[in-house]
């Protein structure tokens, strides 16, 4: 039997913030795909688990000049000096050189949460409770993804189970390359607005590489130099500035206003027409 070595890739995403409607389908699809359990009643936004979380951000202006946008935040898949990998004493965080995916291995995790403290995007979540589903609902769990126990950290891994399935399918067909679209994470598949584009950033012909090079694209906290592989796109300057804040706040709007987000550009109500 000959093993087929997959062709190396550097997977990434381009998320169009001008298309995102804030419906939350990506969050839902992600939770279903990755067997994220329903929250305990006592869970808070800080202690709940949401591998992908959509925040509403505001330009901070008062009615009627207020403007809002939605920004999905997930693990940014840092490509250089990955902060969470650097601090993990257990080597439970690993960057796959064949895909560029920063993977979390809950089996190795001790629950020290250094990685959570190190992550500049707050995209890691800790299991404060044993996972539980309402009676009978555990039979709807995805068989390709193991459940995680209390006391370990977890995060987005670009739906690694789907990558394995796609690779197995390609290998069965004697291929070492995946066709474009053969492997997409659940959030990409579920987005009704087609706001998320996924693919190989190293493939210059791919849509995601084209969008990443686009002048409207930017990355969160680029100044840290961690080379995230999630690109955001917008034609609205205030969205770009607001997204550059430390973390899109989930605090009450007035506190967001006090945080001093930039004033709206101009006083007109017209937003750029949808592309």
């Amino acid at each position: 039997m000959t093993a087929i070595t997959p062709k190396p890739a550097r997977y990434g995403m381009a998320i169009d913030l001008d298309r995102c409607t804030g419906c939350g389908a990506c969050m839902i699809a992600c939770a279903v795909e990755n067997n994220v359990p329903p929250a305990r009643p006592e869970a808070t936004p800080r202690t709940g688990i949401t591998w992908m979380r959509v925040y509403q951000i505001s330009n901070g202006a008062s009615f009627p000049d207020t403007r809002a946008a939605f920004i999905p935040i997930l693990c940014q898949q840092c490509g250089k000096d990955t902060p969470c990998a650097a601090v993990c004493p257990q080597e439970a965080v690993e960057t796959d050189p064949a895909t560029g995916i920063v993977d979390q291995m809950p089996q190795r995790c001790l629950g020290c949460r250094y990685c959570m403290a190190a992550c500049p995007y707050h995209a890691r979540y800790f299991n404060w409770w044993d996972p539980q589903w309402p009676a009978g609902m555990e039979k709807t769990l995805n068989p390709d993804v193991a459940t995680r126990m209390r006391g370990v950290v977890e995060k987005c891994n670009f739906c690694h189970g789907r990558l394995h399935t796609a690779r197995a399918r390609a290998a069965a067909g004697g291929r070492r390359e995946l066709h474009p679209g053969e492997y997409v994470p659940a959030c990409v598949e579920a987005c009704p607005a087609a706001a998320i584009v996924f693919g190989d950033l190293d493939d210059p012909a791919s849509e995601v590489a084209r969008l990443a090079r686009d002048g409207q694209s930017f990355r969160l906290l680029e100044k840290l130099g961690t080379e995230p592989k999630i690109y955001y796109r917008t034609a609205r300057p205030w969205v770009r500035q607001a997204a550059a804040q430390q973390r899109p706040a989930s605090e009450p709007p007035e506190r967001r206003l006090r945080a001093g987000l930039p004033a709206p550009q101009g006083s007109g109500q017209k937003e750029p027409a949808h592309a």
Binding site: T21, G22, C23, G24, A25, M27, I28, A29, A31, V32, V36, P38, A39, A43, P45, G48, T50, R53, Y55, Q56, S62, F63, T66, R67, A68, A69, F70, P89, Q90, Q107, R108, C109, L110, D130, P134, G136, M137, E138, K139, T140, L141, P143, V145, A146, T147, R148, M149, A190, P192, A194, S250, P252, P253, E254, R255, Q269, K270, E271, A273, H274
Partner: protein, 588 residues
């Protein structure tokens, strides 16, 4: 030199300390972590053969195609069907977790009479006796949330055999009547509060066409749709009809206010254009825009059967009211329904999968199967320009003691047919007509009806039938109704009620526990008890951000938690799912 006890202790202690500087303890810890990963208390997914099965979503009128990934026979995830004519491969968040609904806690599991479990036969006998006791002046009504289904035909047949039967629908069940919206050719949408980008019609179809039309949102609240519209026109609550009239005047070249003139200019520049939501003035505006019966506007379709709106049923006239509640449907307005009942002498029967909603007020609760638990049907998708029909095959095993609503009515009518028999008749009628095409989900291909040998089998495997389009013209006797948008002019604020209560969001539908968790943690949906006010309005009322307060309106009072948000119109209180009304707010 002997080996003393002290040497042994020194060696042991030294070894233990030295071991701490080797990888051994860490490896042991890691291995322990690996072992504990499969702790007996942690649920493990079932394994088995992976299969793909197809169905159609019946949680709302959009009629989206569903592709289910199943382990054995059990669905583990749902997704859209690529190329589906209505949903374009998309499912909304509620649809994505439709297979979780069966595991919700508050579902009806057995027939109840006045809150006590009874056998279905006893419930049937009780309802039959109540119907038989109705005099000529007391009507028997069935509230049908989705008129136009084969089940609706069952209801109409049953009611036709009674002295005073009324087949009625909740408000806005048929928002566009005999018309669909030719979204593919529309270049501008003027929306009066319709949630165009937040669950309107079939979300996949709307978003697939989003780049082709300009969207102008006229609404007092800065909604999700307003935030993504090309232009948001914030108007005073209740003044939407006035603004529509101003736009109509501006379309004819008359002088109007600045916003109306700009809107008219956009509509004229981007023809064909339509106006949705709102009241009579919006219908007039559509007539001015020439959007009725023309491509890019409202196009008629063949399958429309008018149904009485519950609001037009006389008050205190219903002796027996059968209410069909569907999984995922909008909450029914119980206050309105109660006004139609004969006081103290009426019987309410809830045909529902839920124990809340109307079941709380019902004399009899007949538990209905949840979405995906029994064979069901999806009629013409909302806003479609052609008639359509698809089956929604069961993907889950239903618990015992459930009765589909149409089946219950068939038994009341002493009809020996079953609900699947009725569905078979509907499919046979489509096959006999031979008109239109069928899109099959597994291969994403369309074929003419007459080319499909076994239409029933094809539809059970996942398919949607689409009629031939009419392209233009009107339907006799079917005027264009307008979508439920904002209600009529609000009463002006008074010294007693100095503020205006407006709806922020629609109340969340029944959904998976995952949905409530994710929306709560992300803050994407406001809690039902949140009252959002402008900071200045809040301070003027002596409130602080996060304070507990009581909102009072002419129709009652309710407790809320105050959220300050500068995006809210000053002088307004935004509360989830509330009707527009004057109101006051004070600290609890």
């Amino acid at each position: 030199m002997g080996f003393t006890r002290r040497d042994l202790l020194t060696f042991t202690g030294g070894s233990a300390a030295g071991l701490m500087f080797t990888p051994v303890p860490w490896s042991l810890l890691r291995d322990t972590a690996v072992l504990s990963e499969n702790w007996p208390g942690v649920p493990q997914p079932l394994h088995g053969e992976i299969r793909t099965r197809y169905s159609t979503c019946t949680l709302c009128p959009a009629g989206c195609g569903v592709r289910a990934r199943c382990v054995g026979d059990r669905p583990v995830s749902l997704a859209g069907v690529s190329g589906h004519p209505a949903s374009r491969g998309v499912l909304c968040p509620t649809g994505l977790v439709g297979h979780h609904l069966a595991f919700c806690r508050d579902r009806a599991a057995e027939p109840l009479a006045n809150g006590r479990p009874v056998a279905i036969e006893r419930a049937l006998a009780g309802v039959s006796a109540a119907i038989a006791a109705c005099g000529a002046r007391e009507s028997v009504a069935i509230l049908d949330p989705r008129p136009g289904r084969a089940a609706s035909l069952v209801y109409r047949r049953f009611l036709a055999g009674l002295p005073s039967g009324v087949h009625c629908a909740p408000p806005n069940a048929e928002p566009y009547g005999a018309f669909g919206i030719d979204l593919e050719n529309t270049r501008a949408i003027l929306s009066f509060g319709a949630p165009v980008l937040d669950g309107w019609l079939s979300p996949g179809r709307v978003l697939a066409n989003r780049s082709h039309f300009q969207l102008i949102q006229v609404e007092p609240a800065y909604s999700r749709t307003a935030s993504l519209a090309d232009l948001w026109v914030p108007v005073l609550p209740g003044s939407e009809d006035g603004f529509a009239a101003a736009v109509a005047r501006a379309l004819e070249g008359e002088t109007s206010d600045t916003h109306a003139t700009e809107v008219a200019r956009i509509l004229l520049r981007n023809k064909p254009a339509i106006a949705v939501g709102g009241g009579a003035a919006v219908a007039t505006l559509n007539a001015k825009l020439g959007s009725v019966g023309r491509p890019g506007g409202f196009l008629p379709r063949r399958d429309f059967t008018p149904v009485t709106g519950i609001a037009s049923v006389p008050d205190r006239s219903i002796g027996v009211l059968l209410i069909e509640e569907t999984a995922g449907g909008e909450p029914l307005p119980w206050d309105l329904l109660r006004r139609k009942l004969i006081p103290q002498d009426s019987v309410v029967v809830a045909l529902t999968p839920w124990l809340d909603g109307c079941a709380r007020h019902a004399d009899y609760v007949i538990p209905a199967p949840m979405y995906l638990e029994s064979l069901d049907e999806a009629p013409t998708p909302a806003g479609s320009t052609v008639a359509g029909f698809s089956l929604s095959p069961a993907l889950l095993t239903a618990p015992p003691k459930l009765t589909p609503p149409a089946e219950f009515v068939l038994r009341l009518a002493h009809d020996s047919a079953t609900y699947p028999d009725i569905l078979k008749q509907r499919v046979a009628a489509i096959k006999k007509d031979g008109r239109g095409t069928v899109f099959t989900y597994p291969d994403a291909k369309s074929a003419r009806v007459r080319d499909i040998p076994d239409l029933w089998k094809a539809m059970l495997g996942g398919a949607v039938w689409l009629d031939e389009p009419l392209h233009s013209g009107t339907v006799r006797g079917a005027d264009l109704q307008v979508c439920a948008g904002p209600p009529g002019p609000a009463l002006p604020p008074t010294p007693e009620y100095p503020l205006l209560l407006i709806a922020a969001d629609n109340p969340p539908p029944h959904g998976s526990p995952l949905m409530s968790k994710l929306y709560r943690e992300s803050g994407l949906r406001r809690p039902a008890n949140a009252a959002t006010v402008h900071p200045k309005t809040g301070r003027d009322q002596g409130l602080e951000d996060g304070a507990r307060a009581i909102v009072t309106s002419p129709s009652g009072k309710f407790p809320v938690q105050v959220i300050f948000d500068a995006a809210v119109m000053p002088g307004a209180i935004e509360v989830v799912g509330q009707a527009i009304s004057p109101a006051s707010i004070r600290r609890a």
